[in-house]
């Protein structure tokens, strides 16, 4: 019963935070996303990057191709660069007929950052508090936490999905200031998913078009774990930390 009360309180609170109705948010997402992607149209640096890395099919972020001087650890623990949605909720919130096999492939990227994970995991775990299936061993990976919540009560499962997703809205944030400046991003969340991210202001010494290829990955991967572009490490870092800061704002309020 106590849980229900908390849930009510939460849903009563949530619309306050930059919540927008469906089409308005989607419209903003489209404009922000297209503008962000179109940076390449106006910035010469983007074209140079294009030439430097050839075909333009897969951006040069995979290991072995001049990148990842600071590897973006895909394994848990130390990786503090990634805020991710549990794979389950991600799937539940995707109405589009996407190949479900590919969804599963994104699972390894579900890595919780140190400061955020506590909050997010707690939010996921709390509704299933009844006979406590998992003896809340602190290091529960987010996906396992979501799984643990799913089987016991269908109510709890229904509850878990909206709670653990991001709150809809448009969020802007600056990153952690690097030696060479900082980046402000705008991230749009619709139906709990990241639908768009873009550079809002570029305060770096170099054009932010250098990291154009990273930008669409935030929505593609539903994660801040977008890699680093060689020669634009600082910009990549600033971008990732800005997206992380924006997504932290987008976390549902802790009960």
């Amino acid at each position: 019963m106590g849980d229900e009360a908390t849930a009510d309180k939460r849903s009563a609170n949530s619309p306050g935070r930059g919540l927008k109705t469906g089409l308005t948010a989607l419209g903003t997402a489209a404009v922000v996303g297209i503008y962000g992607a179109g940076y390449a149209l106006t910035e010469d640096a983007a074209r140079q990057l294009e030439e430097r890395f050839g075909d333009g099919s897969e951006p040069p972020v995979s290991p072995g191709y001049a990148v990842s001087s600071e590897p973006v650890a895909p394994d848990s623990g130390t990786a503090a660069t990634s805020v991710a949605v549990p794979a389950d909720t991600q799937k539940a919130s995707t109405p589009d007929p996407a190949p479900s096999g590919a969804e599963a492939a994104s699972a390894p990227e579900v890595v919780q950052p140190a400061p955020v994970s506590a909050q997010a995991t707690a939010a996921v775990a709390s509704p299933a508090s009844s006979p406590t299936p998992a003896p809340s061993s602190q290091a529960a990976a987010p996906s396992t936490a979501a799984n643990a919540a799913t089987p016991p009560a269908s109510e709890a499962a229904a509850e878990a999905a909206p709670v653990s997703r991001f709150a809809d809205g448009t969020y802007t944030a600056w990153g952690e200031r690097t030696r060479h400046g900082d980046i402000q991003v705008i991230v749009v969340i619709t139906d709990g998913r990241i639908v768009s991210a873009a550079v809002q202001s570029c305060g770096m010494r170099w054009p932010c078009s250098d990291i154009n290829r990273l930008i669409p990955r935030v929505a593609q991967r539903q994660s801040t774990d977008v890699g680093i572009i060689s020669g634009a490490t600082q910009s990549s870092d600033a971008f990732q930390s800005a997206v992380r800061a924006a997504l932290i704002q987008a976390l549902p309020p802790a009960s």
Partner: protein, 321 residues
Amino acid sequence: MSETCLHTFAAMGTVVSLTVNGWGAGADQLQEREARVRAAISWFRAVENVCSRFDPASELSRLSDRVSVPVPVSSMLFQLVEFALALARGTDGAFDPTIGKRMEARGFNRSHRTGETVITEVPVDESVSFRDVYLDPREQTITLSRPLLLDLGAVAKGLAVDLAARELSPLENYAVDAGGDLYLGGSNATGEPWLVGIRDPREHDGLVECLRLSNAAICTSGDYERSAGPGRHHVIDPRSGLSASLIASASVIAESALVADGLATAAMVLGPDGGLELLRRENADGLLITTDLQRYASPGMVRHLAIGGVPVTTPPDFSLA
């Protein structure tokens, strides 16, 4: 402070004007203004190149040649179609982007750019709908399950206005006007919110309302522009195939011109009751004027009305028709 700077050019079948007020007159500032105005103009070109139904080389046109194949598209086309489909779902098909062929068949087939008549090879099929278009966000592909011609006219112009406005936004006080689609940033030359008149749908010289707007978009869709003959204007009810007949003009205020234009177009088709219900649901404000000249306003519309109503002496900064 520099004077108002106005750039006018033709794009997307209309005349577009960009206005920037009171931006600094230093060399750096003038240079930035020029660069941003140029980029704003190039956004119109970019949207036109991607979304024109009249240009056989546009991405949109090339898409309609391929049926039942996932076609990789630019993020611009993908996101615009995604929005159009969401609007179609949200209005139960009162707005439908798959109406292109029927528009063409009804005589809306002349390229604004070249003046040439464009007839595509897509067959006329009254039963195609937005449900025949599938999106794959992961691969960024669009699949048409049947031969059809997309028409993004209603939303593409709104998108171009928004992109141009985003480009100009660091200049603080600016306006993008593209024949019925307007975005207003900051304030006008007298330092007040922009004054926008809504024209009388039947007596074009008169205004029915004057609004004060800042950092908002407003779009008006009317039954009097782009007519292909009596009773044949450009907003078609996708469900009947006939021109929408209940509303003479629909004006919608939203945070983006994309949304405002989409909602205004859908409201034209839905009529006064359905239109107001849509605006309520989407938390947008608007004024709908029926063909028998009754006015229907959303409750929040009163917040935007200029004090004193329609001015007798000062002309508004912009008039929407």
